[in-house]
Amino acid sequence: MASNAPVHHATGSSFWNDTGKTGITSWIFSTDHKRIGFLYFYSTFGFFLVGVLLGLLLRIELMAPGRTIMGPQTYNALFTVHGVVMIFLFIIPGIPGAFGNLVMPIQIGARDVAFPRLNLLSWWLYIIGAVIVLTSLFSGGGAPDTGWTFYVPFSSRTGTNVSLAVFGVFIVGFSSILTGVNFVTTIHRLRTEGMSWGRIPLFTWSLYATAWVQILATPILAITLVLVMAERIIGAGLFDPTRGGDPVMYQHLFWIYSHPAVYIMILPAMGIISDIIPVFSRKPIFGYKMIAFSSVAIAAAGSLVWGHHMFTSGMSDTAVMVFSFLTFVVAIPSAIKVFNWVSTLYKGSISLEAPMLFALSFILLFSIGGLSGLILGAAATDIHVHDTHFVVGHFHYVMFGGTAFAFFAAMHYWLPKFYGRRYAEKPAVVAWALMFSGFNILYFTMQVLGMQGMPRRYYDYLPEFANLNLVATIGSWILAAGLVIMLVNLFRGLWWGVPFEGNPWGGASLEWSVPTPPPTENFIEEPVVTHGPYDFNGVER
C-alpha cells in the first residue's frame, strides 16, 4: 500500500499515514474502520473478479452445444464455485464490509464503530472462512458440485468436498453476524449531537435494516450447514427419506436464511443509490421517510417469503398460496423506492457523471429484475420458469445489475474521497456504456432462453437453444471488456491520478465535511449536525 500512498490533504496527514505505521501488519491488525473497510474492499472485490472469471468460463462452455472447453463434472464444479464465491464471499459481505465500514461511522459523526476489535475479528473470520472454501476446491474429492444451494440428498451423497466448503461458509456466516451486531450498536449508540434518526443518511439506514437481517437470519444458515455436515460425516439421516428424514425440510431451512440473504445483498445497494441520486440532482431525496421505512419493511416482510423458491418442491398447495401472497407484498416497498428515486430527479439539476450513470442504470436493471420477479412470484407462471435460465437471468438482474452496479457506483463516488485522487471521467463513461449494453445482451437473452424452457445448471443443451446461447456469450464478452476498462481507469486514477480535494460532488452528508482523505478518527473536532443529509443549501460544487 505504501508505494501507492495518495496525496495528502492540506492538513498534511490522513489515516493512510498519520499513525506513523504503514506496513502490512498496520493494516491486517488495524482497528481503524477505514483500514478495515479497505481490507474488505480489496478482499471482496478480489473474489468478485474470481467469480467473474469463472462466469466467463461457464459462458464459453455454453457458447455452443456439446463439449466446448470442459467436461460436465468441471462445469458443475465451476457453477457451484461461481455461486459460492459470488454470494458468500462478495455480495453478502461486499457493501456492508467495504463501504459500510468506510463510510457509515463518518456519516453519523462517529470516530469509529462501536466495537473496533470485533470489527477486525469479523474480517479475520471472513478471510479464514474464505481460505477454507478455497481449500475445499483443491483437496479431498475436489470442488463441490452441488450448486450453491447444497440441496440434499445429492449434497449428502456426492463424493466431492462439500463438508469443507460448507464449513468455510459457516465461518463466513459468523463474520456477517458480528458485523451486524457491530453496526446496529454503532448506529444506536454513536450518533453525534444533532444526528437524529430523521437525519441519518439513507445508506446508513439501509445498513441498519440489513444488520438486523444479518443478526436474525444468519444463525439459521449456520445450523443448516452444521446439519449438512452431520448428514455427511455421521450419517444423521435428518434429510434422508430412507431413514424417515425429509429432503424438503432442508430446502425450508436453507431458504429461511437464503431468501432474507438476498435482502442483505440488495438493501445496502439501495442505500447507495438513495445517497447518490440527490447529490447529482442537487435536490433533497423525495420521500426520505418512505425510503427509510421501506428498507425496514423489506427486511421484515422479506423474512417471510422463503417458500417461493419451493413452489414445485411438493410442499402443500396452501403453503404455495401463502408464500405467493407474501412475495407480492414485499414487491410494494421496492416499488416505493423506485418511484421516489425517479421523483427526486424532477426539477433538479442533473449531472451525469459516472456515479450517477451507474445509479440511474441501477434503477433500470433493478426494475427489470424486480418485474421479472413478479413472474416468479405468481404461482401459475413460476412453475414454468422455475429452475430455468429465466431464474438465472432474474437473479443476475437484481444481484449484478442491482448490487454490483451499486458497488461500482460507490467505487466511483466514495473511493476518490478516501484516496484523495480521482479517475478520468471519459473512460469511466465508456466503460459504463459497454457494461450496461453487454449486461442486457447477456441476461435478457437468458430470460428469453428460460421462457423457451432451457433448464438451468445444464452443461449441454438441445440445438434449439444454440443461437441465443451464443448471443448471451457474446454479451458476456462486452460486459467483461467494459469491466476491464472501468478497473484500469479507476485504479490508475485512485493510485496515480490528479488530486481530488474538498467536496467536488457537492455532497451534504458528514463524510463530505471531513478532510480528504479523512484522518484516523475522522473528525478534527466533534461535529454537531444542524441539517438533514440532503439539504444542499450552502453546499458549493
Partner: protein, 306 residues
C-alpha cells in the same frame, strides 16, 4: 377426443404470462420514459440550478402505494387460481409412473409395460406419478408449462394433455449430478389408436419373450451416462474390457481384488453398493427388482464391449 378436459395446462398458464408481462411492460416503459425525460429536461446544461426543493408528497406516496398494491394482488390471485388447474387432475386421466434415477427416466404403464420415453395418447389427460430412486430430480415439460420436483420418499404428481400428435421435450429440471443435462427424453404424443397399438405391441423397455437388445437396454436405463464404451473414465468404470478383468474393490470395508465375471457383474447391477470399485463414488442406484432376462442381456452386452 371426447375426454379432452375443460382446459389444458398451457391454456390455463399462458394468459397469466400475458397479463403479468403486459403489466410489467407498461410499468417498465413508464419508469424508463419518465426517467429519461427528467434526465434530459433537468440536465444541468438546461437546468443549472434546481427549480424545486420538494422533498415528498403524501398524496403521491398514497397513490403509488395503493395502485401497485391492487395490481400485485390481482397478479397474485390470477396466478394462484390458474396454479390450481395444474394441481387438479381431470377425471379419467391415464395413470403413468415416471421413475427418475441418476440419470435416466423410465415410464411404467398399467399392466407393467415400461419405456424410456413417455408415450401418451392425444386428447387424453395423463396423470404422472413421480418417483425418485436416489436424489431430487425435476419433471419438466416446457410445452405444457408443467414442472414438479421428483423427491425421494415423497409422492408427487403432475398432469398434462397433448392436443396434437408430436414429440415434446422432457427435461430434468432439478440439478442431480454429473449427467444432469443428459437426463433428457421426450413425450411422444400419438393418436389414440396408435397409442393403443403401441401399448399392446410397440417397442418398450421389455418385449415379452423377444430377444432383448442389451445395448438398447443400457441406453434406455441410463447406464451409459456413467459407464463409457470407449475406455474413458466416467462417473463409473468403463464397460470396455471390463469382463474378466481384475478389479480392486471395497467389500464389507475390506479392499480385495476380484475378477469381473458373470456373477460379479450381475451382483453389481442388482446391488451396486455391495462392492464398490476403487476410485469411484458409491452413487449407483440399485436394481433389485430388475427381471433376470434384462440383467442377463446387460451382462451379455458388457461382455461384448472389448
Amino acid at each position: 377426443m371426447n375426454q379432452l378436459p375443460l382446459i389444458t395446462t398451457t391454456e390455463a398458464i399462458d394468459p397469466v404470462f400475458m397479463f403479468i408481462f403486459g403489466a410489467c411492460l407498461v410499468l417498465l416503459l413508464g419508469i424508463t420514459l419518465v426517467m429519461l425525460f427528467f434526465v434530459l429536461r433537468y440536465h444541468r446544461s438546461r437546468s443549472p440550478q434546481p427549480t424545486s426543493q420538494a422533498d415528498g408528497n403524501l398524496w403521491l406516496e398514497i397513490v403509488w402505494i395503493v395502485l401497485p398494491t391492487l395490481l400485485v394482488l390481482a397478479m397474485f390471485w390470477y396466478g394462484w387460481k390458474e396454479y390450481l388447474v395444474l394441481r387438479t387432475v381431470p377425471k379419467g386421466a391415464l395413470p403413468v409412473t415416471a421413475t427418475a434415477r441418476m440419470w435416466s427416466w423410465e415410464f411404467t404403464y398399467e399392466g407393467g409395460k415400461t419405456a424410456p420415453k413417455l408415450y401418451v395418447p392425444v386428447g387424453k389427460p395423463v396423470r404422472v406419478e413421480l418417483v425418485s430412486k436416489d436424489v431430487i430430480h425435476g419433471f419438466f415439460l416446457p410445452a405444457f408449462r408443467v414442472k414438479r420436483d421428483v423427491v425421494p420418499g415423497m409422492s408427487n404428481y403432475a398432469w398434462f394433455v397433448a392436443t396434437k400428435p408430436g414429440s415434446y421435450d422432457l427435461f430434468c429440471s432439478q440439478f442431480c449430478g454429473t449427467q444432469h443435462a443428459a437426463m433428457v427424453t421426450t413425450v411422444e404424443a400419438l393418436p389414440e389408436k396408435d397409442f393403443a397399438e403401441w401399448l399392446e405391441h410397440g417397442p418398450g423397455g421389455e418385449d415379452k419373450g423377444a430377444h432383448l437388445d442389451g445395448k438398447q437396454l443400457a441406453t434406455a436405463k441410463g447406464c451409459l451416462a456413467c459407464h463409457s464404451l470407449d475406455g474413458s473414465k466416467g462417473v463409473g468404470p468403463t464397460f470396455r474390457g471390463l469382463f474378466t478383468s481384475q478389479v480392486t474393490v471395497m467389500k464389507d470395508g475390506k479392499s480385495l481384488v476380484v475378477t469381473a465375471d458373470d456373477a460379479f457383474l450381475k451382483e453389481s447391477i442388482r446391488l451396486p453398493a455391495a462392492t464398490i470399485v476403487d476410485g469411484f463414488p458409491p452413487i449407483m442406484p440399485g436394481n433389485p427388482d430388475m427381471p433376470d432376462e434384462q440383467v442377463t442381456a446387460l451382462v451379455e452386452f458388457i461382455k461384448s464391449v472389448k
